[in-house]
């Protein structure tokens, strides 16, 4: 009686297996790389590496860029690129820490950062989607302009978060289960990003717009509107990242987030997202970012030169992409 059902189920599982396995395989390499780095940490610095405080500092370090990386993953899967993330985050942090904004308290500061980030993203997105500018150029312009505006607003001075708004700084000092709140915010953004990308029409459209914009358009998707929203989402993530960096450094500054765009893009690429769009995962990007952060951590713990650290990161990007290309080839045959 039950035989045919089990048979069919077995067949179904067998049919799904290749797809599943590929999904796991895709992250397997990253996990192995992470594991190797952990082992290196344990061997070279047994007394410092595996401590709670070191792990927390790795995660806190990763949180700010991590939030930006989530947004960057969306933009890149959607076939674009956002170079302005670091500058937009800096602008948001400066705008939120002006004395005028600070007068309204920490909530308004947070909302201000988010609005500034999203607004900047909308401007880039509008220029790209409706002004037909190439994403590289539009966001490069935004990078330069946002930095400049941040310098002008702050008069190139670092703006402190005022004592009466210390609640904002609590995000990095208050710990739940030994972990600062900002790490929870990072985790929440990652989780939300995953859900949106994998379980909503927005996510599905992102893959469609990045994978084949013409097909998406002819299937009735408003490609331009979607493109604009992708950059707005990236800007939103920059706004959230600005809150985290204000909490961690207790400052807003036009120099925050310098070269974050490169770290974010590198993390996304290492995570297996194609720069040409249409393919990629949030989990991969986060693993890519953790690899990067771990390398930084290991170099610092071992007192090595930061220049060597950069060289190592460069090598990792190349190796990761070469390995992925091999995987791609195997899959398409």
């Amino acid at each position: 009686m039950s035989e045919p059902t089990t048979d069919r189920r077995a067949a179904g599982v067998a049919a799904l297996a290749p797809a599943r396995r590929l999904g796991e395989m895709r992250h397997l390499g990253l996990l192995v790389a992470l594991a190797i780095l952990v082992v290196i940490g344990l061997v070279t610095r047994p007394e410092n590496f595996a401590t709670a405080s070191n792990l927390v500092s790795i995660l806190s370090l990763a949180a700010t860029i991590g939030v930006i990386t989530v947004g960057a993953t969306f933009v890149i899967i959607g076939g674009g690129i956002d170079l302005s993330v670091g500058a937009v985050m800096a602008l948001a942090s400066v705008w939120a820490t002006t004395l005028a904004t600070q007068a309204y308290g920490p909530w308004v500061m947070a909302i201000c950062a988010i609005l500034v980030g999203t607004g900047a993203g909308l401007v880039s997105g509008w220029l790209i989607a409706y002004g037909r500018l190439v994403p590289f150029i539009a966001t490069l312009a935004m990078l330069v302009a946002a930095r400049g505006l941040a310098q002008r607003m702050s008069d190139r001075r670092t703006q402190l978060v005022q004592p009466e708004n210390a609640a904002l700084v609590d995000l990095s000092t208050t710990r739940v289960l030994g972990v600062p709140l900002l790490v929870y915010i990072f985790a929440l953004v990652v989780a939300l990003g995953w859900v949106v990308l994998n379980r909503t029409t927005f996510g599905r459209r992102t893959y469609a717009v990045g994978g084949n914009p013409e097909a998406a358009r002819l299937a009735g998707i408003d490609v331009r509107r979607h493109t604009m929203l992708l950059y707005a989402l990236s800007g939103l993530c920059c706004g959230i990242a600005a809150i985290l960096i204000m909490a961690r450094t207790t400052t807003g500054s036009s120099t925050h987030g310098d070269l974050y765009e490169l770290d974010a893009i590198a993390a996304v690429i290492i995570g297996g997202t194609l720069l040409t769009g249409g393919r990629g995962t949030i989990i991969g990007s986060i693993l890519g970012l953790l690899i990067f952060t771990l390398i930084t951590n290991l170099f610092i713990l071992n007192g090595l030169d930061t220049s060597d650290q950069l060289i190592a990161k460069g090598l990792i990007i190349v190796v990761a992409v070469l390995l992925q290309r091999r995987n791609l080839k195997e899959r398409s045959t």
């Binding site: 797809a19 459209r205 893959y207 994978g211 998406a216 002819l218 299937a219």
Partner: protein, 494 residues
């Protein structure tokens, strides 16, 4: 000069060339005729070295050759001017002419020599007015054609293949093209000329070879004296069996689509027609007759003046509006315009009606999979696993998935552009059955195909297009392939 015998070229699932013979003499214009899919472009690519034949011999200037690459063919003296001109827009005329074989010393291009040589070649073509330093992107289509030809000559080509060179040209520019061709042939260069326009072939051609279904059916007919009826019947007598579902039994409902005076300057003009629920209307015409462009305009993907009414009301703005109002398009280039190759069959099927599977943006993936499964079974998409990446399916099954996309969401009108392109014969019959099935469900269908028998076999009513105008409209049952081809090629309205 060129003698080809028994060329066979096979692609997975298709025998594109199945024994082609061709014999071209020095100094002649040899025309190649055949319907779409007859194998003309494959033959050109074999000659140009882009494809290698599986069987057969090519003898060029008394020597047996086998061009292994485009460079190889060029070195032999065979140059090809493709339909889409392969010029680099950002470079100058001289740079384009000598692209790949620049006069150079130690890697430094001798610009003066290149400019001088370019001027000589252009003058030889009677176009001394084209400056060698001009940027190619700013030239007119006719001038670009001249540059392409100059490039062919700069290689000392003895045989020049021209694939529909007149397609992009205005009338007086065609006259100039012919003058150049005559000068070339007077110098002993042979030209293989491909065109759909019979009148051109009569004017410029010396002899004609007709291809049909990958085979040569006539070699070396006199281009001027062979009667049109003979040429057309050579082109149409078919071996491919078209299995169409029986006509009739369907009743047409209300008018779904009404198109009034649709015009896009230079592409099509004053096109009016209507499609009723359950009716299949076919557009027959050559590439460049405006057939696909009309479909795009109806779908909102191309701007045009005139009116498009869906259910008596103006269709929404753009593609988004058209889809929302119940239209669907299966575009001509399946891979480039319809499919997300990396995604699953399911994701491809539901792409056109995502909001229908979502609440507040949240996708109901279970229902999505269930619907994809139901449609896969209904259309017999194989292999029957909707979670597979769509790139692993055959062309016919991919096309079924595109049709399945528009079976969702209560479509009223489907626009099908070359629905059976790149699909093997067996899958064709299945697609035909699916299309009939769609019509039986009360969906209006507007069909474009370059294969006349397909239009006639599937459609209830046919519009014949030539150079952007409807030259005939009538019941499909009252037309035959012969008459339609005659209208398309000679412009005679029945």
């Amino acid at each position: 000069m060129l003698v080809i015998k028994g060329i066979v070229k096979q692609f997975p699932g298709v025998r594109a060339l199945d024994g082609v013979d061709l014999d071209v003499r020095a100094g002649e214009v040899h025309c190649l005729l055949g319907q779409n899919g007859a194998g003309k472009s494959t033959l050109i690519k074999v000659l140009a070295g882009a494809h290698q034949p599986d069987e057969g011999t090519i003898v060029f200037n008394g020597e047996q050759v086998r061009p292994a690459s485009p460079i190889d063919a060029i070195r032999l003296g065979i140059a090809t001017i493709y339909q889409e001109l392969d010029l680099v827009d950002g470079l100058s005329v001289a740079e384009n002419i000598f692209l790949g074989h620049e006069p150079a010393k130690l890697g430094f291009v001798n610009r003066a020599a290149a400019g001088k040589a370019a001027r000589e070649v252009l003058e030889r073509l009677g176009h001394g007015e084209i400056r060698p330093s001009a940027e190619v992107g700013r030239l007119s289509p006719a001038a670009k054609q001249v540059v392409s030809m100059a490039r062919a000559l700069s290689h000392d080509a003895r045989l020049i293949i021209m694939d529909e060179p007149s397609a992009a040209l205005a009338h007086d520019e065609v006259a100039n093209l012919f003058r150049i061709i005559r000068e070339l042939t007077a110098q002993g260069v042979a030209v293989v000329y491909i065109s759909h326009r019979l009148e051109e072939i009569r004017e410029i051609g010396d002899r004609v070879t007709v291809l049909k279904d990958g085979r040569t059916v006539a070699v070396g007919l006199a281009a001027r004296d062979t009667p049109t009826t003979q040429i057309v019947s050579l082109m149409t007598g078919r071996n491919v069996e078209y299995v169409f579902p029986p006509r009739g039994g369907r009743t047409f409902g209300e008018e779904v689509l009404r198109v009034e005076n649709l015009t896009a300057p230079g592409v099509f003009s004053d096109v009016s027609f209507s499609v009723r629920a359950g009716e299949i209307v076919g557009l027959a015409g050559l590439v460049g007759s405006g057939r696909s462009e009309i479909l795009e305009a109806v779908y909102g993907a191309r701007s045009a003046t005139g009116r498009v009414l869906l259910d008596g009301r103006p269709a929404g703005r753009g593609v988004v509006g058209a889809v929302r109002r119940g239209m669907g398009l299966a575009p001509e280039e399946r891979k480039a315009q319809a499919l997300l190759l990396d995604q699953s069959v399911t994701a491809n099927i539901t792409l056109g009606s995502l909001p229908g599977f979502a609440r507040f943006g949240w996708l109901d993936r279970k229902r999505e999979r269930a619907e994809a499964k139901r449609l896969s079974e209904m259309l017999d998409i194989r292999p029957p696993d909707p979670e597979r990446p769509i790139r692993t399916l055959s062309g016919g099954n991919q096309q079924k998935a595109v049709l399945a996309r528009w079976l969702l969401g209560g479509r009223k009108l489907l626009l099908l552009d070359e629905p059976t392109r790149g699909v093997d014969v067996g899958a064709r019959a299945e697609l035909y059955a699916v299309i009939h099935d769609l019509a039986e469900r009360g969906i209006g269908v507007l069909l474009v195909s370059s294969e006349v028998p397909e239009v006639l076999g599937l459609a209830d009513r046919v519009l014949v297009l030539r150079e952007g105008s409807v030259i005939h409209e009538g019941d499909a049952a009252e037309l035959d392939e012969h008459r339609v081809l005659d209208m398309i090629m000679n412009g005679r309205a029945a």
